[in-house]
Amino acid sequence: MTEIFGIPTQAFMGQLLIGLINGSFYALLSLGLAVIFGLLNIINFTHGAQYMMGAFVAWFLLNKAGVGYWWALLIAPIVVGVFGVIIERTMLKQLYKLDHLYGLLLTFGLALIIQGVFRNEYGSSGLPYSIPSQLTGGQNLGFMFLPKYRGWVIIFSLIVCLSTWFVIEKTKLGSYLRAATENPELVRAFGINVPRMITLTYGFGVGLAALAGVMAAPIYSVNPLMGADLIIVVFAVVVIGGMGSIMGSIVTGFGLGIIEGLTKVFYPEASNTVIFIIMAIVLMFRPAGLFGTLR
């Protein structure tokens, strides 16, 4: 059997694919963060809690209202997005003129409160949420057994990521958004309601987090703390990709998922530090991140 770095090719391919799946979550989450930072200049530390809320909304829908996974994919991001809009309107709005640090502190505090409330109510073991019946089972790819659901995660998150990138970078709406961050006064002079656009952007970014939460619910347990550790990694992904860079966050999300996956094979003990090591190295040589530009 052929080997790559002492590991059978088949196992190696399997690990690459697994990395890609985990990378999908990193990409979805870091994309939301990048959009919010790029357009609002807010470092949204509530992102992990909003991801968790997405999973919980899916759970509520299923257990309290009998609404299944597919509708949850649509409803949860809207519900959590609206929650985000309320936060933006009532709290974040006051902070745009201040240093990044204030936004970071506010959102971090909010995250702790939200997680605390959920943990108090639902404990820390999590709640069961099963894979939708259409996606149970899996496919033997020869080199690995790929659960259908994980395959779906890769495809769906790629579609979401690329369409977001397309909307922001290639459409008229996106150009308004980008212009509004560069020079809000001027854009407003053209008769565009900039504050509303910013609010909706925040709601959209938060909705992306909730969407990732719904997708994570069947794989990981629906757990009040599911976003708490993830968010740190995702921030590292954003920093490596370059704060505010849309494509950067997508590419780095998937890329780092793969690197982390391979670390789990070669030196599992380091698997939760490898991303930070990469972050340190990248910051040394490219302080603005791989895809970012210094402003």
Binding site: P8, Q10, A11, G14, Q15, I18, G19, I21, N22, R119, G123, S124, S125, G126, L127, P128, S130, I131, G137, G138, M144, F145, P147, Y149, R150, I219, Y220, S221, N223, L225, M226, D229, L230, G261, K264, V265, P268, E269, S271, N272
Partner: protein, 400 residues
């Protein structure tokens, strides 16, 4: 005359000191555990509930003994745990620390307690080193340990003829101890370990590790982890079709809270060892019925039951001794036979190991369960003298 006065003064002083044997007039119990992360549902706030129930059942108020419970979150970090313990012993007048899941933290508290000459009753932590090379005259290990789990669950599985194993191990003191003790059982029974992989504590995604386990072609994948890590490994193993592919999962440490979180469709058929099940007999059911309303409707885990049982016995020893001096109470506890509604009759050995029966349980199928928390079938009872490591084999210096 002067001499008589001197004797009287001496007697008075002796009496005064006898009276002051309970330090500050209060017996202060510190419940130290994970209250916010992956092990919080194993004991957490429910641990404090159990301790308070023990105080109530002991009848401390009627006996005129003042007993207080304080709690803290050690966040599964040994340094956080040690600094809380130091503060509790030095400043807050805590006499005994109970529970402490997370073996690395428990080993640190074991050290601090010995240094400060107080008392430590372990319920949540698993490592068998607490009654082995790290044993201490200040510590009693109450509920279960890695040796017991390895021999209870490991032997039961090896006996069915499944002899090639792969370990998925939490990368810290507990996981290493559980893996070591189970490997010993497997090898002794003529089995072999094809591989192992160590994952960081509180990992979310196990797919990569499971894939390695899958490609090892081992008959049994031993999960040497706990709490949230076990829940996620079992859930994701189901997703990757590991059991359907003919490999067996051995949850080496599974709590009822984990089964509750997994749900029966995923958890059914798992076989593991517990020392307490709430629905085992009338006494355990009566306890559970009182416990649940105080803890959001959750039934007690074996760790919470162990906290109840250990605090009850501690208070009996303090009463008998009329003192809360750490090592003296521990010595008294070892001297007195134990008895309570949850673990029945038992005793504490010189190495600090509390012994009682253990139960090999199997998780019911959804069709067999009558409702929430009706989860286990008891397959076998492992008698107390077989359930735990023989005293002489642990290497504890206290055993002569």
């Amino acid at each position: 005359m002067l001499r008589k006065l001197g004797i009287a003064a001496g007697v008075a002083m002796a009496m005064a000191s006898a009276h002051a044997q309970i330090s500050d007039g209060v017996i202060k119990i510190g419940v130290l555990n994970d209250q916010s992360s992956l092990y919080a549902d194993i004991s957490g706030q429910g641990g404090a509930v159990a301790a308070r129930m023990a105080i109530e059942d002991f009848g401390a108020a009627k006996k005129g003994m003042k007993v207080e419970v304080i709690t803290a979150d050690h966040q599964n970090k040994p340094e956080v745990g040690s600094s809380i313990a130091r503060q509790w012993y030095d400043r807050d007048g805590v006499d005994v620390i109970v529970d402490v899941p997370t073996s690395s933290v428990a080993l640190a508290i074991n050290q601090v307690t010995r240094e400060k000459n107080k008392a430590f009753l372990v319920s949540g932590a698993a490592t068998s080193d607490l009654t082995g090379k790290a044993c201490s005259p200040n510590t009693i290990h109450w509920t279960y340990d890695t040796w017991m789990l390895a021999h209870g669950t490991g032997s039961a599985i090896v006996d069915t003829g499944k002899k090639s194993w792969f370990f998925l191990t939490a990368d810290y003191a507990f996981g290493h101890a559980l893996e070591r003790d189970t490997e010993e059982v497997v090898v002794k029974a003529g089995g072999k370990v094809l591989g192992k992989v160590r994952h960081p504590l509180n990992a979310q995604d196990f797919s990569s590790f499971l894939l390695q386990a899958q490609s090892s072609k081992a008959q049994v994948i031993g999960l040497a982890n706990a709490g949230g890590d076990t829940i996620n490994s079992i859930k994701q193993a189901a997703e990757f079709g590991i059991v359907k592919g003919g490999q067996n999962l051995a949850g080496l440490l599974v709590f009822i809270s984990d089964v509750h979180a997994l749900g029966l469709p995923t958890a059914q058929g798992l076989i593991f060892t517990e020392t307490f099940y709430w629905d085992r007999d009338d006494a355990s059911r009566a306890f559970a019925k009182r416990f649940a309303p105080q803890y959001k409707g959750n039934m007690p885990t074996m760790v919470q039951a162990g906290i109840y049982s250990s605090v009850l016995h501690y208070l009996k020893a303090v009463e008998a001794l009329k003192s809360d001096d750490g090592p003296k109470v521990i010595a008294k506890m070892k001297e007195m036979p134990t008895e309570d509604p949850l673990f029945g009759k038992g005793r504490i050995r010189q190495d600090g190991r509390k012994i009682h029966d253990a139960y090999l349980v199997e998780v019911k199928k959804p069709s067999e369960s009558k409702g929430p928390w009706d989860y286990y079938k008891i397959l076998a009872t492992i008698p107390a003298d077989k359930a735990f490591r023989p005293e002489k084999e642990g290497g504890c210096p206290l055993v002569k």
